[in-house]
């Protein structure tokens, strides 16, 4: 192939893209649909303590089921050598299964979203949700108390899927 033919082909390969779909996710308006087709309760990564195996899902903000958590602090121990971001804190509310009212509190300034705390929980009450928009201007507000973790995060906005289309190019929709 001659020198100029090579240049022309390269240019043409680039120019052709003008006639294809746009390949950009317009993020705050559009969000990528990362939900799995699994029928999880949390929508994200879960772990079955009996079978000792997880269910595929996004590892985002945690959800804590306070009505099931016994305050055993195994999740905090699991996280100790990883990011050391779980603290057991006392909650002003009485629970039958949790006499001391000790619940995990997670510092998202440190969490790496590895999900090993989920694997450690023997009572299936700490899972992860597909919520990831935790950015804030105040570092202290990254500490999520048990009550905050107990609430399911609000998922807002338009969720789009990624479509790899051979003819018209990959796009979101």
């Amino acid at each position: 192939m001659s020198f100029f033919a090579g240049f022309f082909l390269a240019l043409w390969a680039g120019v052709k893209q003008i006639f294809k779909h746009r390949y950009t996710l317009r993020y705050p308006e559009q969000k990528l649909d990362i939900f799995m087709i699994n029928n999880q309760k949390s929508g994200g990564y879960e772990f079955d303590a009996k079978k000792q195996v997880g269910t595929a899902g996004f590892k985002g903000r945690h959800i804590l089921y306070m009505d099931k958590c016994t305050g055993c602090s195994l999740c905090a121990i699991a996280c100790e050598g990883i990011a050391d971001c779980i603290d057991m804190v006392k909650v002003d509310k009485s629970f039958v299964q949790n006499k001391k009212s000790q619940f995990p509190q997670i510092d998202y300034g440190r969490c790496v979203f590895c999900g090993f705390c989920v694997d450690a929980c023997p009572f299936d009450c700490l899972f992860e949700t597909p919520f990831y928009e935790l950015a804030t201007t105040d570092k202290r507000s990254l500490v999520y108390t048990p009550e905050m973790l107990n609430e399911y995060p609000q998922l807002k906005g338009e969720y789009v899927k990624f479509i790899p289309d051979k003819k018209s190019g990959a796009h979101h929709g």
């Binding site: 390269a10 390969a13 990362i34 269910t55 595929a56 899902g57 590892k59 090993f116 790899p164």
Partner: protein, 368 residues
């Protein structure tokens, strides 16, 4: 550091540690006019003591930490670790987990190679080649995210298998992406790999001959580009790689062009390997249930795998406690460091980016 020598002939200056694209790494370069006469690599800016850290943490707690040095190839650096720990535990991952590991490792290889390709594009002044692989990388990050749950650091391999099964409908989704991407790779070839600009910048530049490659101990694609057919996946098959058929891409030239083409060919090969793995994958469990803390038996274990940049090797010594006694990691990037001064000497300064990034040297991996 002296800047100009006594006769005023040569000039010494440092490139990095904030060099765009080089990562946290410094090259002390001595030039005579436009020619490089001496190079001293200065690694160590991002040394985190990954090996020492392993001694204080349990086998599971080590996993998120060990991924950090190579986040683009996070499964590549974990793979030999879990194999070595499994050897200490005397277990083997179930067959389904072995194939899932292959899929994840190859996805990571593609993610890592695409990142390399994007930066190589911008190093050679081809900004379209920066945009395309970075965008297409999302395809594979999406797939890996569907399995592993996060974008880059999946913490997905654990001793005894993998943490979760493939999500339903993964195969169809993956095959659709692969066939789209294969078409896309043809366009890569037109715009970049057959582009006369790329050929001019890389052909005959930084030639690493067969003997030198062996002497300097480079591994992975860099070694294969110097005419040596060596791939740990073939030489010492692990995790059911022996059931998969593909040809090792080998090139004789040993220059930057050969190193690029080997990596380009590996993108096709990884797609091919994943296709086969998705066909061969058996039903069954993905993990050996292990409760409580993992304790290795007293002894040593070794494991070697082929990560994106070459051979990744672990040596773990256990004294029977819940954490390892000693972990030694041998990373492929550190090996290409020895070839770097050898290749750079005598070349034009303008060829430095092509040679430097052509080796796919990743400072964080080398520093650990």
């Amino acid at each position: 550091m002296e800047v100009v020598d006594q006769e005023g002939r040569t000039l010494t200056f440092s490139i990095g540690p904030q060099h765009p694209g080089s990562g946290h790494f410094r090259l002390i370069v001595k030039v005579d006019g436009d020619f490089i006469v001496d190079v001293k690599p200065d690694p160590g800016y991002v040394h985190r003591g990954a090996e020492k850290m392993c001694e204080e943490r349990t086998y599971i707690q080590n996993i998120p930490h060990l991924e950090r040095p190579v986040i683009f190839d996070s499964s590549g650096i974990l793979f030999p670790y879990v194999l070595a720990v499994e050897e200490l535990l005397g277990v083997q991952a179930p067959p389904r987990a072995q194939y899932i590991r292959i899929i994840m490792a190859e996805l990571n290889r593609i993610i890592s190679h695409l990142y390399w390709l994007a930066i190589y594009g911008i190093f050679l002044g081809h900004s379209t080649m920066f945009m395309w692989p970075m965008g297409d990388r999302e395809l594979f990050i999406d797939l890996a995210e569907a399995i592993g749950g996060t974008r880059v650091t999946f913490s997905y391999f654990v001793p005894g298998g993998v943490r979760n099964d493939l999500p339903p409908g993964f195969k169809e989704r993956a095959l659709k992406t692969f066939s789209y991407y294969e078409k896309r790779l043809e366009e890569y070839d037109k715009i970049f790999f057959s582009n006369p600009m790329f050929l001019k910048r890389t052909q005959g530049i930084g030639v690493l001959k067969r003997e030198d490659a062996i002497r300097l101990g480079v591994t992975g694609p860099n070694l294969r580009a110097s005419g040596i057919s060596s791939d740990t996946r073939k030489d010492e098959p692990y995790s059911s790689y022996e059931t998969i058929k593909w040809d090792i891409p080998v090139r004789k030239e040993g220059d930057c062009y050969a190193r690029s083409m080997v990596r380009f060919q590996e993108l096709f090969d990884s797609l091919n390997i994943m296709r086969q793995a998705l066909d061969l994958i058996p039903e069954g469990s993905v993990k050996i249930p292990m409760r409580g803390q993992i304790k290795g038996k007293v002894g040593e274990s070794f494991a070697r795998t082929e990560a994106a940049r070459g051979t990744m090797f672990y040596h773990i010594i256990s004294d029977g406690a819940t954490h390892p006694y000693r972990v030694k990691i041998s990373v492929p990037s550190f090996r290409s460091l020895s070839a770097m001064p050898f290749l750079l000497k005598g070349n034009h300064l303008a060829d430095m980016p092509a040679i430097y990034w052509g080796l796919d040297y990743w400072p964080v991996e080398a520093d650990k």
